[in-house]
Symmetry: C2
Subunit: 258 residues, 2 copies
């Protein structure tokens, strides 16, 4: 009862560890540098490996670290700002710019029910499913499934082009011809499905930002896109003016200044 209980806040070890590591990253490591392996780090801090991993996982979630099986843990560069809102939208590849969407595949199938609801069509109506990958600085940052009801692009006969990138481009071209009256967007947290994970060079279940877009034209919804962005490396930007510019370097400078 009379015992003084200084410093008994009971902060979890992994939380404290995360703070310590975060500060060490700011001051002692350069971007791309390799950290000691998990077993060594755990021993150095006197904790079990699982506890150390809990701290690393959080830092990876915050985009500070990058871990690759068989290789090691490296200090991640600041997140890339990827523009999402783009008023202009011509359904094109984007060429060599950093806005490049690269068509990969195109099949025809029935949409998942949730997508069908957004498209305002019956659940078993046929849709073109266009698979696209978004590249930034040569890295895949997003994988998209674009659902286009066959009724949205009536000019396109299913027979004239076989499945593949060429057919994807045909669908996009027809979509472009229809024009665009507006769009609706939502962003939420998800975990990568196996196929998305593969495209994004991540393990299944990796955290992703799921951007669902509804495209409007003429009488109704003309297409729905479900794009999954790597949450560890991406910062989605919206809005009128240019992208926000934040970097870890700036944060470091400030911390030292205070």
């Amino acid at each position: 009862m009379g015992t003084t209980q200084l410093e008994s806040v009971q902060e979890p070890k992994y939380w404290h560890l995360k703070t310590v590591l975060s500060e060490a990253l700011d001051s002692d490591f350069a971007v791309g540098e390799i950290l000691p392996n998990e077993r060594d780090l755990a021993a150095r801090f006197g904790v079990a490996r699982a506890t150390l991993r809990q701290a690393l996982e959080q830092l990876e979630l915050e985009g500070r670290l990058q871990r690759r099986r068989g290789v090691g843990t490296t200090v991640a560069p600041p997140r890339v700002g990827v523009a999402v809102a783009a008023v202009q939208h011509d359904w094109a590849d984007g060429g060599d710019t950093d806005e490049a969407w690269q068509p990969v595949e195109c099949t025809t199938a029935t949409a998942p029910a949730s997508v069908a609801a957004l498209l305002d069509i019956v659940a078993d109506a046929p849709v073109h499913v266009v698979r696209r990958i978004r590249l930034t600085h040569g890295q895949a940052v997003a994988a998209e499934l674009l659902y286009v009801p066959t009724s949205s692009v009536p000019e396109l006969s299913a027979i004239d082009v076989p499945s593949g990138p060429a057919r994807a481009r045909s669908v996009l071209r027809e979509l472009h011809r229809r024009g665009l009256d507006g769009q609706d967007r939502s962003v939420e947290l998800g975990s990568a499905r196996a196929d998305d994970a593969k495209e994004l060079d991540r393990l299944p279940g990796a955290p992703v930002l799921v951007v669902t877009t509804r495209y409007f034209a003429a009488p109704g919804t003309v297409a729905v896109s479900v794009a999954t962005y790597r949450a560890d490396t991406c910062r989605l930007t919206f809005g009128d003016s240019g992208a926000l510019e934040i970097s870890h370097d700036e944060q470091v400078e400030t911390r030292q200044a205070s």
Copy 2:
């Protein structure tokens, strides 16, 4: 060598578990229902508790489950769509609507360096820091820090109102008088700081969507807001028309239809 290796895909146990649980949630559980406790569930599936927890964590990340210490694990309702883009912006509370931002506190301090860079001011310039909580259906879904350089609201003397909600409202009122020329926004994944976690009724480190907004008026940036939304319960919506409407129920219907 000659052994047939059927079904050896080596899918991790927790991944398979997650799939099984997810399907069980769709078919056998109602929203709000309490699941068996972790020890029982682990025993039932013949795995260690840590493995079972790995599956539950993913489902919670996807907004399917809600876990509360001392209480149990319940089936989460579909994510709430919260509008973020709102063209109109009068800095008001929002009254009784579901868009309510509730001012909580207001102090004057120096901004963190990353924020100072966005505001385009020197790192040690004084700013008003307004703390607001966003409520939807009576639940706190976001906690915000709004940074307003004292130079942005010159009419406001630091002395006339003491710290507190009243002062926060004064700053917002002055901000409203300045008008707004545009805004810039970015969304990224983060983990809740201790103070945000407390406001959002989550544990520190919980996954959050960090929305950084830059407000422009007259000659430059007039304010910067950093808002953290609960990633487990929120779906951020943007855009011209109304919010997207997705529900788990619809997804269930579809799955059964296919």
